[in-house]
Symmetry: C2
Subunit: 447 residues, 2 copies
């Protein structure tokens, strides 16, 4: 396509926001960046290391497991008109789990296991934008993948890290609902249901379709009778603390080895989590996490204050996602924190303070014919001492420079002397106090 | 496309690297992340603030100015077959300058000017991958955009920041060649060339086509005579310090007001830059930076040791790129650091040390039936004191745990007691010294 074939957007159209592709103002971005720093620090404090796989995967890899409900963005080439109707080969990743799985499988020989990685990266989905659902969004993921069985230690550690993260960014009260896919599959197979994963997928839609709708589908698609469906619904409605839930499930009188294993796992996980933080974690047997790849503990976190808002974290244990690439057993467990989703909601609810438009701490004034190199050297001296410093960029009326500092909320104004032997002064923007200062030794008082 | 229509890659094909989309191993990514932190710190120390525009722009915006030689990746939708042959509307950005310009124009009323922003973000180009040229790559940009004339202060400050960045990441010796588009345009118009920007674009290809080829094109396309072409080539071959170059150009006897302004600007910029760092900066009249939007000072930086490797930084002054969106004057100046390009070269030349596979500082051993919660609490205590700590994830033979620590290069091994009253010990992985320690007070000796 040559430039002459441009579709011809007007100037206004060119500047229009694109639905589902949110952008932050500088003062908002500063908070997001601060969050990312905090999250990284916490992830690293548990020994997770950063990877950043390419954003592009073969379509086959993206379709491999799981979330094919989500629309995938495919890549084309603008100048590639002759072949433009060929099969799309590459797409943008729609989560961080599938690229991680592919990366681990591809680099197996070079990694140390258990491999603990974090990823703070964008992902893209072509779905219809709505409250809390974006087409371009930032996710923060941690996962552990091992060549051996992954101990339940990680089923406890991973949601603990996640809660620590949410606290560090002041996300406010949240609650995490926990389930174990082994309980669901074990219970269903105890009911002699053949296609347990189809049953789980249907039940997971109960919020969207309602119990009657699900009952009909279970009858039609899986040929289940009313008694079995009642049993399923009885399980689905169980929630509470670890001990309560296990008792209730056992009273339902369904038995299978897999169910027993699931109950054992849930008991350990809940006991440890409740030991640390009683209120935030509870069991909810209706949680399945749609993705087909989960095989054990699953997590889903929401805001307490906005329970109808989509879940802000989710994850779980998957035994086969990674290993399937190389025909080996490489079980994994992880959680994904929906940074963009959390940020958008808290911003909308005015629970994020955005009062800093720039990182600048000191503005060095350039006025009244001060020698350029003296102004410049003053700024550089302060900078080398660790301050964030702007040198005002031209010799201009003082008022214009002070107005600039005020607009950006710069806390300190520095006045270099007019000659090399003169006295420096510094002014606090809030208290308006001004006093002599030496750029090589000055330390701001706290305030 | 339904999953059944998968093109059917083999397992091996799914794991194959994609040409032009580089991926780093964890120990390499740790260095890249360290670089990014250093770069951010330097950018912020000059008062630049982060923005992160969406990665997607309307094709019209991407084609607007400049770099349409570069292949743009367009976005499609996998499930959207019925409309798949329609005109592509969106593409991935191919640099960080055009999205910044659109962002500033769209948010004009909410920004403070001069607006100083940095962006550390990926960009995508569909070009043929080759040494130092990627399809997905990380760029680090700073730019200043103002509603008033931008003072020459920034023509000096911006390459100064860039050199400080390259030093902080140990990029090794580099050289930056500087030119001023006003000199080129002013000189050409002094030679009565009508289409000065076409002439600049042709001359900029001299490295690819050679002098004879360019001479032919100047004759054919711009109808220039041999005398004029000689005059152009005389200019193109001038290089040296600021003062040398200005003298040489003036001796060529071409005159125009624009040329005079360009020479004045170059004189000031070179004087200040040479004042700070004599060797790294020089003038080179053959540098034009292909992009049409540059209107003043332009920069191009290369490795001293690898002069044939593509330029690792580039930028300049553009008067109209931003303002064109809103029909106002919004001049700007900026520079782009090719992080992926620098990283790839230094990695290949083994000038990057990649000896850390994880951020972990302490591994807490979990062995010989130690109580889980005691092990867990020890790790948490150390973590809260600011250390990066892994708790070994299962009660297992000590040898396996030590081997894990060795594989990841973890410097300290912590042995919690077998009971709550026992003694903690800590061992240095290098010296192998082991001694009693208290997790609430221990401080590692430097080593």
């Amino acid at each position: 396509m040559s430039p002459s074939k441009k579709s011809g957007l007007t100037a206004k159209e060119k500047l229009r926001p694109i639905s589902g592709f949110p952008e932050l103002l500088p003062e908002e971005r500063r908070v997001e960046l601060d969050w990312i720093d905090k999250i990284r620090t916490i992830f690293e404090s548990y020994g997770f290391t950063s990877i950043e796989p390419r954003t592009v995967e073969p379509i086959d890899v993206l379709l491999k497991q799981g979330d094919t409900d989500k629309e995938i963005y495919t890549l084309g080439r603008l100048l590639d008109i002759p072949n433009s109707d060929r099969e799309p080969n590459y797409g943008l990743h729609y989560d961080l789990t599938v690229p991680m799985a592919r990366y681990v499988a591809a680099n197996m020989e070079k990694l140390d296991f258990p491999f603990k990685r974090y990823q703070i990266q964008k992902a893209w989905r072509g779905e219809r934008p709505q409250d809390g659902r974006f087409r371009e969004f930032m996710q923060c993921d941690i996962d552990v993948v091992d060549t051996r069985e992954i101990p339940l230690h990680f089923d406890v550690e991973i949601p603990t890290i996640m809660h620590q993260v949410l606290k560090s960014i002041d996300a406010g009260p949240v609650f995490t609902r926990i389930n174990n896919r082994k309980i669901l599959e074990g219970y269903y197979s105890g009911l002699d249901i053949d296609n347990t994963s189809a049953a789980i997928r249907l039940i997971d839609k109960v919020d969207k379709i309602g119990f009657d709708g699900i009952a009909n589908l279970l009858k039609l698609e899986l040929k289940l009778n009313t008694k079995t469906i009642d049993k399923i619904f009885q399980l689905t409605q169980i929630r509470g603390s670890g001990r309560q839930v296990v008792d209730q499930i056992q009273r339902l009188g369904v038995h299978s080895d897999l169910l027993d294993r699931g109950l054992e796992e849930l008991t350990f996980v809940m006991q440890e989590l409740e030991h640390n933080n009683e209120e935030a974690f509870s069991v909810d047997l209706s949680i399945a996490r749609g993705l087909a790849y989960y095989t054990g503990t699953v997590y889903e976190t929401r805001f307490v204050d906005y329970p109808a808002y989509p879940s802000i974290c989710g994850g779980g244990r998957y035994d086969n996602l990674v290993g399937d690439f190389v025909n080996k057993r490489l079980p994994g467990i992880g959680i994904s924190i929906g940074l963009s989703r959390i940020f958008a909601k808290l911003l909308k609810e005015k629970r994020i303070i955005t009062d800093k438009k720039s990182p600048t701490e000191i503005l060095v004034i350039y006025s009244r014919g001060a020698p350029y190199q003296l102004v410049s050297k003053t700024a550089q001296t302060l900078r080398q001492r660790g301050f964030n410093v702007e040198q005002y960029h031209e010799d201009r009326k003082l008022n214009a420079q002070l107005k600039y500092a005020e607009g950006k909320g710069i806390p300190w104004i520095w006045f270099p002397p007019n000659n090399i032997d003169g006295e420096h002064q510094v002014k606090n923007s809030v208290s308006r106090e001004q006093q002599p200062a030496d750029p090589t030794t000055w330390i701001p008082e706290k305030g």
